[in-house]
Every structure is written in structure tokens, then in C-alpha cells.
């Protein structure tokens, strides 16, 4: 394809394959390719009808999807910042919390974790081990306790101890389970009563290996509790996580963090240019 001078059906097909294989999805891919065809309909200085040129135009269009929104973690200027971490089962919430606690502590913040998953076997012990690795405290109760009670308890502890950031772990839940989404709404309400504006950041963890369902997850979690940021975990695998392009395109929710492994330091800020580059490779 690199020796082919013209931009034609087969080039379009190859680009479609790159985007679809990266989980960008049919809708966002065809939107991008329509824009691309339109941009290239006008002969742009000759080099754009070469493959490299085509890719660079596509790169610009993808970067456009990611432009114009802040990727900073939201902080509470007036006191305790509360971060609620949510998402479906097994995506990397608990691990990402350990990493984030470590990151924030490295920035000199006083961090506390709350073991809000009072359901799954070993969930509390798992978070306790992460708290220890990250060198931060943890508030926990028994299994079976209402997660809202743990959240409330954690806020009190934070206010008493002068904590800067409270990160709350929640049980994995499928967005299709109404009672579990109601449980999450209740946690949010309780937090809001404890601290004005809390939770200030609601992070949805998305597994980079997930396909189109991640868009539905984002939509439903967003309509239930409002999602202010996305943490894309497991980007160290072969999956490209392209579904976040669809999420940003359709919901304008910024990806803020990227998980790149199973260890404490494997968390980075999301860099759109780096992400798009890796996706189109």
C-alpha cells in the first residue's frame, strides 16, 4: 500500500481495518473516514495522497476528538477531595486505586482509601495490601455492610485526620443491574452530604480489551452518577483501547489515566498524541 499513489477504495478499506481492529467501532470509524475522504477530496499539496500523508490527516482528525477538554484530576479547592472509582467487574478498579494513591502521595498529598467493595471475596484484603504498598491508610468495615456506610465512615475519618484525597473503591457491577446502579447512586448521595460537591471526581475504569460494550458502560454509568473521567487500564496488552475515542466523541468524557501494568508505578496520565500514534501504528 505504501507505493500506491492514489487514495482509493482499498486504502479506505485498510484504514477501516486499522480503526475497527483497534476497537474504535463502526460509528466513530465511519465518521472519521468520511471526514478524511472529504479532506482529501481536495488535492492537498500532493503529499497527502501518499499513505504517510493520509495517516497524518487521520491522526489530526483523531486528535481533534480528544481536543478541548481538561485531563487533570478534579480537586476540591475548599477541602477534602473525594474520588469515587466505578466500573464493571474485573476491569482494574482496585489496582488502579492503589496506583493512584501512590501517585498522589508522591505529589505530597495525604491520601486515604475506603474499602467500598463489601461484597466480593477477598476485596477488602486486596485493597488493604495496596494501601500498605502505597503507604496510605485505609478505612474498612465488615463484608456485607452497606457501602454507603463505609463511604460515610471514611469521610468522617478524613475530616478528622486532615486528609487531602479520599479514594473510594466500589464493587464491580454490570451497568445492566438496576439495583447495583441504585446502590452506587446512594453512595454518591451520602458522599455529597458529607462533603460539599463530593464526589468531586467519578472515575470510570475501562478495560482496554473491552469492545463496544465499553461505550454502553460509559453511557449508563454517566447517566446514573455522572462520570468525570476515565481510567483506561491494561493498555500494556495488545488491545488498543480505541473505544475511548468513541466515548470521547459521543460523551465528551476525558480519559485521564492509563494503566500500563500490574505494579504500583504502572499508572500514567493520558496523552492523546501518544495514544493516537500507538493506535495507528
Amino acid at each position: 500500500i505504501r507505493s500506491k499513489p492514489a487514495f482509493d477504495e482499498s486504502s479506505l478499506g485498510q484504514l477501516e481495518e486499522i480503526l475497527i481492529s483497534a476497537d474504535v467501532g463502526v460509528r466513530t470509524s465511519s465518521r472519521l473516514l468520511k471526514k478524511l475522504s472529504a479532506s482529501l477530496a481536495f488535492p492537498l499539496k500532493g503529499k497527502e495522497d501518499r499513505w504517510e500523508g493520509v495517516l497524518s490527516v487521520l491522526r489530526e482528525e483523531m486528535l481533534d476528538i480528544f481536543s478541548g477538554r481538561s485531563r487533570e484530576l478534579i480537586t476540591n479547592a475548599d477541602g477534602l477531595t473525594v474520588v469515587l472509582v466505578v466500573g464493571v467487574n474485573g476491569v482494574g478498579k482496585t489496582t488502579s486505586i492503589g496506583k493512584l494513591a501512590n501517585l498522589l502521595r508522591g505529589q505530597g498529598k495525604r491520601v486515604l482509601l475506603a474499602a467500598g467493595d463489601t461484597f466480593r471475596a477477598g476485596a477488602i484484603e486486596q485493597l488493604e495490601i495496596w494501601a500498605k504498598s502505597a503507604g496510605v491508610g485505609i478505612v474498612k468495615q465488615k463484608y456485607g455492610v452497606d457501602p454507603s456506610a463505609v463511604a460515610f465512615d471514611a469521610v468522617s475519618a478524613c475530616l478528622a485526620r486532615g486528609i487531602d484525597v479520599l479514594i473510594i473503591d466500589t464493587a464491580g457491577r454490570l451497568h445492566t443491574k438496576v439495583n447495583l446502579m441504585e446502590e452506587l447512586k446512594k453512595v454518591k448521595r451520602v458522599l455529597g452530604k458529607g462533603v460539599p460537591g463530593a464526589p468531586h471526581e467519578i472515575l470510570l475504569v475501562v478495560d482496554a480489551t473491552t469492545g463496544q460494550n465499553a461505550l454502553i458502560q460509559a453511557k449508563l454509568f454517566h447517566s446514573a452518577v455522572g462520570v468525570s473521567g476515565i481510567a483506561l487500564a491494561k493498555l500494556d496488552g495488545t488491545a488498543k483501547g480505541g473505544i475511548v475515542a468513541a466515548i470521547e466523541d459521543e460523551l465528551a468524557i476525558p480519559v485521564k489515566l492509563v494503566g500500563t501494568g500490574e505494579n504500583l508505578e504502572d499508572l500514567q496520565s493520558f496523552d492523546p498524541a501518544e495514544f493516537v500514534q500507538a493506535l495507528l501504528n
Binding site: 475497527i20 467487574n89 474485573g90 486486596q126 454490570l174 469492545g211 496488552g237 495488545t238 488491545a239
Partner: protein, 300 residues
């Protein structure tokens, strides 16, 4: 779903006559879109649509079947061909478990990517086998994930199946070797090995699994796959099949609304059957895989 889309493609077709190339192209485009939206891998979709196209070309607008229904019928047939037959009652492996449990003990290894549901599925399988009257031991071979052992122990207590207890410090291969020996000495029927999640591109960890397999010669190596997996399902499945060898697949989290196209991709790439599906977080949430159910789900 796909039926509605195909109906509108063929709405303009009146009376008798062959399906034209234009009709077929439009129909194939709809099939392609439906499968891609269901997360079936791009290349698997290409091959699948081509197989459907070949059968649709030159078909008369036949007797009682509307063209859309004809195409749908072909799609379902091709999918059934690909997914393989539903297990017939009584023809589902040893003792009706869909698993080869002829060993003494029969060793079953659960493998797969991080977070797909191996440990939970281990508990579910333990419950399932116990209810079939087998004596079972679970082996906690994940030494890396924080509290993985505790997680399996809680599940073991819940379903009333023992978990091999290992004093700290052993590596996964040692744990498995000791655990299988213990099961053999106790004359148990089955051993379930819960392995740590790993990336298919992690050479060291994939070699660890190969060594584990070499060491205990499992009757079943089951690849656990999350139903919401996207295009990557092909890469991961072909690596696990190529480097380790897989006997069957378990598709988890089917109680959600993920279409489950990964099932088609994994089947195509490994040729191995999906044996069970996970349909919830509780230890009784395991069902036999029914190919025609996943077909309707994928087609929407």
C-alpha cells in the same frame, strides 16, 4: 437487530427473480455491520460474510421464504457451522459434565487474561463438580495478585470444597505439583487450578503455564474469556492456543449486555468449543454453553 435491517434491504424486491448482486452487497454490508458492532473480529467477519455471500449468490427469491429470511437463515446456518453443535443430553463428556474427568485426579487448569473471571469460575466449577458427586480440590496457583489465595479460600468455604493450603514462599509450579500430589494421595476425583491472570505476550508467564501443563498433564486446559472482549480476542486466543494448547473455553459475564462476538472469534481461531458460560457473580451462576443462544445474541 439484523432481521429488521435485512427486511429493509429487501423491501424493494418484488415477486420472483434472483437476488441481484446489488441486493446481496447491501445485505452483506448489514451482516458485516451487525457482526462488527457485536465485537466479532474484523478478519473473522470478512471470512464469515464471504461464506454467506457465496451461498446467497444466485439464490432464487424462493417459495415461502422472503429474501431477508433466506439470508438470515444462511447467516444462522453458517454461524451454527462455526460455533459447533449444542451438547446433546448424555453426550457431554464424562459423567455429563462436558469435561474430560477420567483422570484420578482429573486436572483442570483455568487460564486467561487479567480480570476475566478465572478465580470466580474456579469456585463455580468446584460447586458444579461437587454437585455431580465428585470429590474436588482447588489449587490457588496465583502468587502475584494481592489476596488471590484469600479470594479462593472464601469461595471454597462458600461451596464446601477444600482449597489446597500452601505455606507461603512457594512458586506457582511448586504449589501445583504439591497440590496435585496431595489430591492423588487422597484419591480425589478432580483438581481445579486457579492460575494468575497474564498477558498472552508475556513470555515468562506464558512459559510458566506451558511448564505447568507439562508437569501435571491436565485433562482440561480451559481458556476463560470475558464476554465483553473486543477485537483483541483473536490475538489472545491464538497465543494461548499456540503457546499452551487449550481444550475448551469458558465465556464469562454473559449476564451483562455485551453481545459476545468474541465467542465467534475465539471459536474460529482455536477451533475449540465453548463449554460453559458465566452468568453472574454467585457460585451457582454457571451454565452449559448453547450455541444458538449466542448466535441470536450476536446478531442482535
Amino acid at each position: 437487530g439484523i432481521s429488521g435491517k435485512l427486511q429493509s434491504v429487501f423491501k424493494k424486491l418484488r415477486g420472483r427473480g434472483k437476488l441481484t448482486e446489488a441486493n446481496i452487497n447491501d445485505a452483506m454490508r448489514e451482516v458485516k455491520l451487525a457482526l462488527l458492532e457485536a465485537d466479532v473480529n474484523y478478519l473473522v467477519v470478512k471470512d464469515f460474510v464471504e461464506a454467506v455471500r457465496q451461498r446467497a449468490i444466485g439464490r432464487e427469491v424462493a417459495g415461502s421464504l422472503l429474501p431477508a429470511q433466506q439470508v438470515i437463515k444462511i447467516v444462522h446456518e453458517e454461524m451454527a457451522k462455526l460455533m459447533g453443535p449444542a451438547p446433546l443430553a448424555g453426550e457431554t463428556g464424562t459423567a455429563g459434565t462436558q469435561l474430560n474427568i477420567d483422570g484420578k485426579p482429573s486436572v483442570i487448569m483455568l487460564v486467561g487474561l487479567q480480570g476475566c473471571g478465572k478465580t470466580t469460575t474456579c469456585g463455580k466449577l468446584a460447586f458444579f463438580l461437587k454437585n455431580k458427586g465428585l470429590t474436588v480440590l482447588m489449587i490457588p496457583a496465583d502468587t502475584r495478585r494481592p489476596a488471590a489465595g484469600e479470594q479462593l479460600e472464601v469461595l471454597g468455604r462458600e461451596v464446601g470444597v477444600p482449597v489446597y493450603s500452601t505455606a507461603g514462599g512457594k512458586n506457582p509450579l511448586q504449589i501445583v505439583e504439591d497440590g496435585v500430589r496431595e489430591a492423588r494421595e487422597r484419591g480425589l476425583d478432580a483438581v481445579l487450578i486457579d492460575t494468575g491472570g497474564r498477558l498472552h505476550i508475556d513470555d515468562e508467564l506464558m512459559n510458566e503455564l506451558a511448564e505447568m501443563r507439562e508437569m501435571v498433564s491436565p485433562q482440561e486446559v480451559l481458556l476463560v474469556i470475558d464476554a465483553m472482549t473486543g477485537q483483541d480476542a483473536v490475538k489472545e486466543a491464538s497465543e494461548f492456543e499456540g503457546r499452551l494448547g487449550v481444550d475448551g473455553v469458558i465465556l464469562t459475564k454473559l449476564d451483562g449486555d455485551a453481545r459476545g462476538g468474541a465467542a465467534l472469534s475465539v471459536r474460529k481461531v482455536t477451533g475449540k468449543p465453548v463449554k460453559f458460560v458465566g452468568v453472574g457473580e454467585r457460585t451457582d451462576a454457571l451454565e452449559a454453553f448453547l450455541p444458538d443462544r449466542i448466535a441470536s445474541r450476536i446478531l442482535g
